[in-house]
Amino acid sequence: MNRWLPFEWITAVRFLREGRLQTLFIVVGIAIGVAVIVFMSAMLAGLEANFIKRVLTSQPQIQLLAPDQVARPLRQARGEVEDAIVQRPSQRVISIDQWPKIRDQMLAIPEVTAVSPTIVGSVLAIRGDASRAVTLSGIEPESYFKIVKVPDYVVAGEPRLSSEDVIIGIELANNLGATVGDKLNIQVASGANRVLTITGLVDFGNKGANQRTAYAALRTAQSLLGMIGGVTTIDMTVQDIYAAETIAQRIQAANAVEADSWIKTNAQFFTAVRAQETSNTLIRVFVALSVAFGIAAVLIVSVIQRSKDIGILRAMGTSQGQVLRVFLLQGGLLGFVGSLFGAALGATALIYWHAVARQADGSELFPLVLERRLFILTALLATATGLLAATAPAVRAAKLDPVVAIRG
């Protein structure tokens, strides 16, 4: 007997050791349950992080726009409205009023991590006989690249934007037969044009985006689009991506701007992410429940099998509390040991699946992240589940009438 182990611990371990086969089966059951939880959690978290990274590194999390222009009916007197059809006016591309002040206000918000003013307009990209309608974004590279990771998507050239440079989507480059170093004539509807040099080609992994995207320096775009000193959007990132919508609503309420969060502009994607999270949680809960019921069932059988032992223990002066702890400990130990094997099994399955499952382009389906936190949390959860599952059998054992127990 180990001198540093208490009575309850020694008895619990001996009871588990004596019922070897029973213990082995329930530990395997717990291990499988824990492995499923570890595998699913790590894989789905990786997949989700991958999806979110792809979405959120190619677009701002919050975008501030000039408010819609609206026509107001004439009011004749208080409470009276003129009976007239009010048509919605056409929306001219206009600058956000006093944008430097708004930008500074945004930078002062603690949750905001980056702010970048941008001007966006439709232009024609012309090279020789070929021309394509594209969306030209005039950006300040230093701040904008913190929000949209353009450098990560550059597949040729470099993410450099001086006043004479342009970065375009790879599909657009293919359509125009252009590559890095070539000149591109950018023309706007008003007839103004400017010749820019292609410094980089980007691939966002989306054909539509690759056909339409063009980046130029902010001042170059402002001059081309005839809006000197103006910006059409202020792009932002925040610390907590899931708080983006709440922050956007707060900004809109306090400023004369329209604030769109990624949650609003990607409603379907966000719903899919949330649905996946919910189904993942549900699966984890049900697996944990089945593990808990497994432990409880084994321990209830054990209490019945050991009723004479419990009777003897009680007769020799063991308290109800000690008997309770002996069975609670068995549940906790089963959960803990099962979680260790389960974590190892889940990690092995995860490493194997990460190596086997690939995307169409051969890149990894999900990043392999084996966080220590996940394993510690799972072990704690399994131990707590074991303890919780053991409560009913332990109470039953503690309340066993020693006379009845000894008689069997």
């Binding site: 009575f7 002066g317 063991t318």
Partner: protein, 227 residues
């Protein structure tokens, strides 16, 4: 009175109290046991001997009457106090050995001390060794309970009952499941312990020969003490 270890006054025990099936199995039992006395409790099956032993052993509570152990009335004691009194004052030997099969002979003897102190110690281990030597089973100290004969298991049970140096040992037909030779040997062991250590013994038995070798015989018939 001062030398009494146990006193029962008008003890009654009924089951299903208040129900139409209420049955009284013990009626107005008066009994006392002195320090160092070896008492035999006899009676036919179903006469209430085991119920009486369970009440004396604080495993069961009387419906009415007083149970006084070492001068302390047990009626007002809560479960924790009863458990403590039982652990420190009473040792049990059951008919079917009832050792805990997950433990060795020595560990079984250590269990009452372990439950009381919380942690094993060299002192507990040494005492268990001495008790096993006293019952002649030192060689079997590391044997699991199931790997011993009935007589050997019962000797271990006697050693375990003595682990906490109890004032009173209750033995419920300890020789009932043994052959004559083993039964005699276990009885002699208990008698020897009684003589050497001065523990009181309350022995339930059907064996008249053994009962005659006790200090006193009490007969229970239909829930009443006859002699």
């Amino acid at each position: 009175m001062a030398d009494e270890i146990l006193r029962l006054e008008n003890v009654c025990k009924a089951y299903n109290v208040g129900l139409p099936t209420e049955t009284e199995v013990l009626h107005d039992i008066d009994l006392s046991l002195n320090h160092g006395e070896f008492l035999a409790l006899m009676g036919p099956s179903g006469s209430g001997k085991s119920t009486l032993l369970n009440i004396v052993g604080l495993l069961d509570r009387p419906t009415s009457g007083r149970l006084i152990i070492k001068g302390q009335d047990t009626a007002a004691l809560g479960d924790a106090d009863v458990t403590h009194l039982r652990g420190h004052t009473i040792g049990f030997v059951f008919q079917y050995h009832l050792l805990i099969s997950a433990f060795t002979a020595k560990e079984n003897v250590m269990m009452p001390m372990l439950a009381d102190r919380g942690f094993p110690s060299a002192e507990i281990e040494a005492r268990a060794g001495r008790l096993l030597a006293q019952v002649g089973l030192q060689k079997f100290a590391d044997n699991l309970a199931n790997n011993m004969s009935g007589g050997q298991q019962q000797r271990v049970a006697v050693a375990r009952a003595l682990a906490m140096s109890p004032d009173l040992v209750l033995a419920d037909e300890p020789t009932g499941n043994l052959d004559t030779k083993s039964a005699d040997s276990v009885f002699e062991l208990m008698r020897e312990v009684n003589r050497d250590s001065g523990n009181s013994f309350l022995l339930v038995t059907h064996n008249l020969d053994l009962a005659r070798r006790c200090d006193r015989i009490i007969e229970v018939v239909d829930g009443r003490i006859r002699s």
